[in-house]
Symmetry: C2
Subunit: 281 residues, 2 copies
């Protein structure tokens, strides 16, 4: 639907987005900007508010993938000027996978073309949603709608603010544990980017390899992710989103510590779990 | 991805597809032909085999929507030369809605362009399916996959042949009942089209209107569909797909008969249910 201008940064080094490059692209005439709010592949939370301010300044449409933040981290769609925000059912909301939900600003509605491709025909959805009994234009995944409804009730029960605080605390605990075990964080933060509050990406420590580390953890009943693509074998990632508990975080740290100790990467057991506990108490 | 040539026939009259018109379009250079095998909006089963023969003769790709036949009616994909067949989870297979499955012929794979739109990038699915552990390229609706697996086990338990026979018998019973109640079938069959084996479309009988008929049936606990678009108020449709029983068919006929009798459209109760019973016994 138009030319795509890519603003490049070296994700394989965990580099953060530079706002200047984004502003340059907008000054050169970019009409829309897309952002992954929380980049799970590198464990970075990108500066959505600042990007939104730039989009507003240049009159561009701001489309934000909030798949791994909405429901688990602060996302102020209207305040940040996000024109289209997208969320998936299976991440921070804790419903089964299979559904997406989006929010659409007035500006985004107005900028839509008249005959969009079938799968992104939002107007068809709007038309059906506005019927006397709100509907979808085609048969939806009904069972997942009910599951999503229940998941949202659980979110409401916990309280969105409390839930966001919990997610922030859990990832802080993971970072504290990593620090205590001398595991380096992967992201290279700048003034605007932050560590992800839902996925913690760390370098594989010297003295062990990816397979040994992750298989060892898996044998203890916990699954952590490896790096994707160019990062395979270089980093490992711990997800901490959804309906999980303090004990889930502590037992994950414990598992990492056990494997690192068994492989003589850390000299003694305890500091990781202790550091995480201090954050969680 | 090319110009679309429509072969027209008046669906609001329940007209069947004319094979000559289809052949003309192919002779004029149509490269692909799409067919809804079972047209639920009018209750017609279209001649897939014959269309497949024409597609083969002219070297066109034959794409068939088998959403309301696969799992409930005979569909011989390879024998009929269907290059791409599509099925939905929620119709004859009896799983929850939300999934599609397709079959793709060698010819269809070879005719695919290199950079298809995101949502129809079948090559991405093929690549993932061919991995050591078969996967999908993106997170799928996992819970629906398990539901589909269970639904397919139920299909297997009944036996596909028995299941097809049951569907044929159920719709035959509905047609016999309609005949006994002097309700006219809606489709105008020709030499090739057939009455649908999964949805029976009938004209609203004289002496009652759509609302009175369908609301009356609904009050008895059974939901039947009305006509869509231009057919609203003119026809009503009884679906008979999936894991339903003889009793479901008989009680539906009973409900129709009760409402027609109450509104003096039929003089006596009984003939509809009796005719259906005779087919089902």
């Amino acid at each position: 639907f138009g030319k795509v201008k890519s603003v490049k940064f070296d994700w394989t080094k965990g580099e953060s987005i530079e706002l200047d490059s984004v502003e340059n692209a907008l000054a050169e005439g970019a009409k829309a900007i897309t952002l992954v709010h929380n980049d799970t592949s590198v464990g970075i939370k990108n500066p959505a508010k600042e990007i939104g301010d730039l989009a507003k300044k240049y009159g561009a449409i701001f489309i934000m993938d909030g798949v791994t933040t909405i429901g688990g981290d602060e996302v102020l769609v209207d305040k940040w000027g996000v024109d289209i925000a997208v969320v998936g059912s299976q991440k921070c909301i804790g419903a089964p996978p299979g559904l997406s939900a989006i929010s659409v600003s007035k500006k985004a509605w107005e900028s839509m073309v008249d005959k969009p491709p079938y799968y992104i025909d939002l107007k068809a959805y709007k038309k059906s949603a506005n019927k006397e009994t709100a509907q979808t234009p085609y048969t939806p995944a009904v069972s997942l709608f009910f599951a999503m409804q229940e998941a949202l009730r659980i979110v409401k029960e916990e309280g969105l603010e409390a839930r966001i605080k919990r997610h922030a605390q859990f990832s802080e605990a993971l970072r504290a544990a990593a620090d205590a075990m001398n595991i380096e964080m992967f992201p290279q933060l700048n003034n605007y980017s932050k560590y992800s509050n839902t996925v913690t990406a760390m370098k594989i420590p010297t003295g062990i390899d990816d397979k040994k580390l992750r298989n060892g953890i898996k044998e203890l009943g916990i699954q952590v992710s490896g790096g994707q693509g160019a990062l395979e074998g270089k980093i490992f990632r711990i997800g901490s989103m959804g309906n999980i508990s303090k004990l889930d975080i502590l037992s994950t740290v414990q598992a990492v510590e056990i494997v690192l100790h068994k492989n003589d990467v850390v000299k003694k057991m305890g500091p990781g779990v202790e550091a995480a506990s201090n954050v969680l108490k």
